[in-house]
């Protein structure tokens, strides 16, 4: 809406689109439940072979070194075909962290398998007692000679029960004040003795999450990333820019697309009350697009996003949920059916989309936490 592709971006989009259309397996399109890893990693490896699995990585590490607008184009074109969500914790989270904080050996060892899709990574930050108050985490790692002994439990890892490794935050100084000064960033091989994982079904019946139990797990000291007790900064440093993609208007627009298809199938598209609601939603998403493109410009200009990422997340998540609300609304008496609501080739899957969108305002810093951050850091309100 706000940006037309430049000539070179248009060429790039064309190239990406035709390759995706030719190569993304049809049975992986439009899935609202995560396919099994074996199916999914086929697509991961195809992208990897094409050199497109890590658009934002520098060439020296095997990435595309794509411009931000190219990265956005890839995300848009994947969304256009409703490509499945891949386990990209390694590519998106750990990779950039290793590039900034890893030693030469750490980079050599871990980056190539991420790129090839040989290793699936899970992110292990939250604990049962530490959600919004992450700094209170208690999983303990005691340094003994050349290794850590880790005890505790981590929860809400995406797909840890299918993962090979986990990057995680552990407490290495129980006395530290403030609490986040006693936390380190550690890589743990999930095949190590003493590690157990348990899948957790989400509200939509998808095995999205896991709990990981760590019982006297031996972790070599070389798996420490960044300084001992310096893990808080390692984990948080690159968060803001990542949020650009999680706050993309595309997620809500994909739901709008479902809404319009359903409405034209069931005749609601001629109802002025529906049109008013849809227009209100679309206008809100236009405002979100404006924020998104401005943030992209800031990042492209090397300027920090800062608390603006909290604003974006609040807007993105509330728009997404407003969209799924309208989807259920338009479905009327079928708003609770789990049978696939097919319109032409499309599976609209109203209930699952609605249920999954509950996640948005809870994970990655709940809306309440984002508001606390903005109250403190932008408005300067007292605590």
């Amino acid at each position: 809406m706000f940006r037309k592709d430049s000539a070179s971006d248009a060429t790039f989009r064309k190239q990406v689109r035709s390759w995706f259309e030719a190569n993304l397996p049809r049975e992986l399109r439009g899935r609202t439940v995560r396919p099994p890893p074996a199916d999914l990693m086929v697509w991961y490896k195809l992208l990897s072979e094409r050199g497109w699995i890590a658009p934002h990585w520098p060439k020296e590490h095997g990435g595309m070194e794509a411009t931000l607008s190219e990265q956005i184009i890839i995300a848009q074109e994947l969304g256009r075909l409703s490509a499945p969500h891949l386990p990209l914790q390694g590519v998106n989270h750990l990779g950039p962290i290793l590039m900034r904080y890893g030693t030469h050996e750490q980079k050599q060892r871990h980056l190539p398998p991420i790129l090839r899709g040989d290793v699936i990574w899970a992110q292990g930050y939250s604990e049962p007692g530490s959600g919004s108050d992450l700094a209170s985490l208690t999983t303990k790692a005691e340094l003994k000679d050349d290794h850590f002994v880790v005890n505790g439990t981590k929860i809400w890892q995406t797909w840890a029960h299918h993962a090979d490794w986990m990057f995680t935050l552990v407490r290495t100084d129980p006395e530290a004040k403030p609490k986040h000064a006693g936390i380190s960033f550690l890589l743990i091989n999930l095949r190590t003795t003493g590690v157990k994982t348990k899948p957790i079904l989400n509200i939509a019946g998808d095995d999205e999450f896991s709990q990981v139990f760590l019982d006297d797990v031996i972790v070599p000291k070389e798996n420490l990333i960044g300084p001992l007790n310096g893990g808080w900064k390692v984990a948080n440093d690159l968060l803001a820019n990542e949020r650009l993609f999680t706050s993309s208007p595309q997620h809500a627009l994909e739901v709008v697309h479902r809404i319009t298809r359903l409405a034209s199938a069931n005749g609601r598209d001629g109802d002025p009350v529906f049109r008013d609601k849809l227009a209100a939603l679309r206008i809100r998403i236009i405002a979100q697009e404006a924020l998104f493109w401005q943030a992209a410009d800031l990042i492209a200009n090397g300027r920090p996003l800062g608390p603006a990422s909290s604003t974006m997340k609040l807007i993105a998540t509330s728009n997404l949920q407003a969209a799924t609300d309208l989807l259920v609304d338009v479905a009327d008496t079928h708003g609770a059916d789990v049978r696939r609501q097919s319109v032409g080739d499309d599976d609209l899957d109203v209930t699952r989309i609605f249920l999954q969108s509950r996640r948005a305002t809870i994970y990655g810093g709940s809306s309440e936490i984002q508001r606390n951050v903005l109250a403190r850091r932008v408005l300067g309100l007292p605590s």
Binding site: S126, G129, S130, G131, S132, D133, S136, I155, W156, I200, L201, N202, I203, G205, F209, N266, G267, V273, Q321, D325, V328, D329, A331, D332, T333, H334, G335, A336, D337, V338, R339, T351, F354, L355, R358, R359, T361, I362, Y363, S366, S367, E368, R371
Partner: protein, 369 residues
């Protein structure tokens, strides 16, 4: 807490609550999700023994002879426990039988329904956009003394698992109500799974002979209207139960869950949200009771106002309950999600907030004091 219930009404509510808790409460429902029947005949029979299905049936016909308020109390408890038995359809089917033509077949069927021996569901919903317009989809022909049905009926709760249906159809003289066994020849049931792990059905009738007539046009027209509105009120009652249980569960969690060294219920933003949810529970419940208080035949306008209001507030409240539970609320293993899903079905069933707001607008005239 803010009701004006009689001692008898309070006792009915308490015993209903106890009965459901004894059967296993929400845990039971969790295990019954996506099973073929979706509910338990044995529990249905216990409900019958407690008189639930005769609540609207006059004593001389074997019922309790109570009113909508009592039905609402039972359904609020049903909603609170997420009990999957077809309480509302059965109780309202019994009302229909008691109010239709007195025939040997009707009386015998009524007796069986009230006793829990037969489970009868309601097939009176029109097409989604028509709501209570029964004309559209099912035709009744009187042929050599029998009624023969052709067409479809949608939105029939637990259609595959019941023994028969009270069916509304359209004859050349107007609407009729009749009884059709589940096993009637020419009747097929297409099942749809709902998000809360139960089913409802679409019935297709191909020259299906009805078992017997319940009401001919002159009687059927008002009776049918009453049945439809009663089902709206019943659905709202179950929603109110769902809402109040979800709120209670959330408030408990706010008191127990600690973050930043304090119970999260001490944070004002969450307190105020919980209060807004409390207000939703109080206002929907009060509206429900005041409408029930108007007597067994409520106005269609009010029934739609109630359904629209309760559907909207229930979705908002159960979503809020998930949010306040945080990550654990987003899992299948926590019960709070079951309440959201039940609210989704009840909100959609018989037409959602938008649909009933439109029906309200159509039916109502604004007259200032």
């Amino acid at each position: 807490m803010d009701l004006l219930l009689s001692a008898e009404q309070e006792q009915l509510q308490t015993s209903a609550s106890k009965l459901l808790a004894e059967q296993g409460g929400v845990k039971r429902m969790r295990h019954l999700r996506r099973t073929s029947a979706g509910f338990e005949r044995s529990v249905h029979e216990k409900m019958a023994s407690a008189g639930w299905f005769g609540v609207l049936v006059p004593p001389e016909q074997g019922g309790l002879g109570l009113g909508l308020t009592e039905l609402a109390l039972l359904l609020m408890e049903t909603g609170r426990a997420l009990a999957p038995e077809p309480v509302a359809p059965t109780a309202i089917a019994a009302y229909a039988l008691s109010g239709g033509v007195r025939s040997a077949e009707s009386s015998s069927l009524l007796e069986q329904v009230v006793a829990g021996e037969k489970i009868v569901s309601l097939a009176v919903e029109g097409d989604g956009s028509e709501l209570d317009d029964t004309r559209a989809s099912l035709a009744a022909m009187f042929t050599s003394g029998r009624i023969v049905l052709d067409g479809t009926r949608a939105g029939v709760p637990l259609a595959s698992a019941c023994d028969g249906f009270i069916v509304a159809a359209w004859s050349k003289d107007g609407p009729v109500l009749c009884y059709v066994s589940r096993s009637a020849s020419g009747l097929t049931v297409e099942e749809h799974e709902t998000v809360d792990g139960r089913t409802y059905g679409t019935l297709t009738f191909r020259a299906v002979p009805a078992d017997h007539l319940i009401a001919a046009p002159a009687l059927a027209a008002p009776l049918l209207q009453a049945l439809y509105d009663m089902m709206l009120i019943a659905t709202a009652a179950e929603l109110v139960g769902v809402m109040s249980a979800a709120l209670d569960m959330t408030v408990e969690y706010l008191k127990i869950r600690k973050q930043f060294g304090k119970p999260i219920g001490s944070f004002q933003a969450l307190q105020h949200r919980a209060v807004d949810n409390l207000v939703q529970v109080i206002s929907t419940r009060t509206l429900l009771f005041q409408i029930c208080d108007q007597g067994i035949v409520a106005s269609s306008e009010m029934a739609s106002a109630l359904k629209a209001y309760t559907a909207g507030e229930a979705l908002a409240l159960t979503k809020s309950a998930i949010q306040m539970h945080g990550a654990i609320g987003f899992t299948d293993e926590h019960d709070v999600g079951l309440y959201l899903k039940r609210a989704m079905w009840l909100a959609a069933y018989l037409g959602n907030e938008t649909a009933h707001r439109k029906r309200f607008d159509r039916l109502s005239q604004f007259e200032p004091v």
